[in-house]
Subunit: 388 residues, 2 copies
């Protein structure tokens, strides 16, 4: 086990009716608040009204940036950062899912910098300072509410790039499972695929050797597999929504990644899919993940698949290793495509092989992905082909 | 599931050779450092020298308070708080196990208050402010390195009282598993009993209903059960020491207690044992816990024992519930007394029934313990009797 630093100072209000604490928490950071959100869903659900009431009754000054895209664009980040400078904003309040929160993070960073916000992602310009980010989460998926990362899309350059810095960790996040009752079946499924992928990117690692953290990851995966069907069947099941929401935060907030730091594999492959085709992140991950697992399975890696199959899916430990491994991948496919009903192939979402070569090059940054197994652009192209 | 607030802002340096970051971290808080520690063990192991070198090479001014007791005394806390005031200390550095860290917390609080530090524990005087506490952990047990609590003993009043406040959470903790290589078999076993108890106090709760957190608690219990025998057999096994150390922090840092907040049962019963007899905390817990479980087992609680037996000890789920429950308690006893070799009865540590009635009254604060099952002083006395 390598040495690591654990440092996740976000304060989380979890549960129903916690929004009454929003005003006092915002006040800690100043008086001028930029509220960012996506489309109209928070207006339809009544959440927008509740949030605005909290802000106003705390005597704070409210500015708004709406229309943050599902794969948030750099143009929106630039606009938000400009507003922060112009209006002398003290804190950015993101009400939404991962996209809105990711955008808020780079808005908050851009507000404190002279460079173009895209430089943080494309040029490696370090984020030294950012306005405080506060979040009200509406979707269990990316874990952005409790982590220092964000992903921003530049459609002009066909790039979807991620970045992170300690200054971007939200100061306070409000996680109310009842807010996710109105999340559609499709988005619920995509969110769960995203959570699972965060866990599997860390879990499938031949250098991972902290028994305790592997066990925690298995519990989080089992939580997703148990409660997603419940939430799909009964969208207002509190326990299901609560378990999915809290699992989404803990899948990626830094706890389970303590022991080892593998480079992620499916995420860079998927980022190219949604950079080129603007598909939903979780859907892309669902299509890619089982193929990636099949591609990486061999005698040197099979032991990890056995652990996964036995501990997560309860497959009989006495079977031959390769049989357990293949059964485990089959169980995962069954969950993603049959139980959750997500599209099984890239063809089903109208993605053909036209850009596979270019996407594979970009996913590997022209070199390779040093993850669970090291993947060259040729390997990645083969995995894309397996998804057709 | 009730609403909760998660807020554990401690920064943890985990792993070997992390102590090189101590100086820069201390510097963040000022220049005048009070180093607190217990007996001579950190001098014997060489840790004292390393810590002092770090402090000096960072150009900080060092003051020392040694001799913090295993069940830390209020007199020591008073002395430390007085030193902080007199020497205008900026931060308290605790190098040791839970006792040293607990003492440091109330020294840090006393340094910022006009009252007697015992008032924080006995009078309910709130801790509003405290000096920053930094810890270098030497024993996997209490979790004090990552939580806001501490327990202090007053032998004059035969009281051992706990208290907590957000201001008492350590700012930075250094967890180097190699530091625990020199922990004796007995202390290792007592530490593991303490970790298990923290988990069981939360886990055995008929209102606990967050599947995910129950799963995490089961993983942490399994981690202790798997790695304690390894550490007893081979004290310098890094993986064993690392798993035990990280499990100790997460058993009590606030993560697993998110869903429900039962009143603890064994801890108040044990605190009376060590207040009256000054026995090791973990040993007292080991003797009490299985008896408490037997006492609370009935038709209304058996389902939790079944979950425990099946998920933690792998007992066959198809057996009758009561049989699983009794087997599970038996497995726990086997682990505590046979595998870890701790004393099985109070008689073995020369504790007779003389004070049972008084201790039971005090454990219940004269009323009752509203935990897994509500316990009156008469119930507690019966549990003490079962331990003879």
């Amino acid at each position: 086990m390598k040495a690591f630093v654990y440092d996740i100072p976000v304060k989380v209000y979890f549960g129903e009716n916690q929004l009454g604490n929003l005003g006092q928490e915002l006040k800690r950071f100043g008086t001028r608040i930029l509220l960012t959100y996506g489309g109209g869903s928070i207006k339809k659900s009544g959440l927008y009204e509740k949030v605005v009431r909290e802000i106003r009754s705390a005597g704070l000054k409210l500015y708004e940036l709406s229309g943050v895209e599902p794969n948030p664009r750099i143009e929106t980040v630039r606009e938000g950062a400009g507003m922060c400078k112009e209006k002398q904003i003290d804190a950015v309040l993101a009400v939404g899912g991962g996209s809105t929160i990711d955008a808020a993070k780079f808005i908050a960073a851009g507000a404190c910098a002279d460079c173009d916000p895209w430089d943080f992602l494309a040029e490696g310009t370090p984020v030294k300072k950012a306005l405080p980010v506060i979040t009200v989460l509406t979707l269990a998926a990316t874990g952005s509410e409790m982590d220092p990362y964000g992903v921003i899309t530049n459609l002009q350059t066909n790039e979807k790039l991620g970045g992170g810095a300690p200054a971007l960790v939200p100061k306070v996040s409000f996680l109310d499972p009842t807010v996710t009752y109105t999340v559609s079946k499709y988005q619920t499924a995509c969110g769960s695929a995203d959570i699972l992928s965060h866990l599997m990117e860390e879990y499938f690692d031949m250098n991972q050797d902290l028994y305790m953290l592997d066990g925690v990851m298995e519990v989080l995966m089992k939580t997703v597999i148990r409660y997603t069907p419940v939430a799909l069947e009964k969208p207002d099941d509190y326990e299901a929504r609560a378990n999915l929401m809290w699992a989404s935060s803990w899948a990626i907030n830094g706890f389970v990644v303590g022991a080892s730091k593998p480079e992620w594999s499916c995420h860079p492959m998927e980022h190219e899919l949604s950079a080129f085709y603007d598909i939903t992140h979780g859907l892309g991950l669902a299509i890619l993940t089982p193929r990636w697992l099949r591609y990486c399975l061999d005698e040197t890696t099979v032991s990890k698949y056995v652990q996964f199959g036995v501990n997560v899916f309860g497959i009989d430990r006495s079977l031959p290793s390769m049989e357990i491994a293949n059964k485990a991948i089959g169980e995962l496919e069954h969950f993603l495509f049959d139980v959750m009903g997500l599209a099984r192939t890239l063809g089903e979402v109208n993605i053909e092989e036209e850009h596979f070569k270019a996407m594979a090059q970009k996913a590997c940054c022209g070199k390779e992905i040093r993850g669970f197994k090291t993947l060259t652009p040729a390997d990645v192209e083969k995995i894309y082909q397996m998804c057709r």
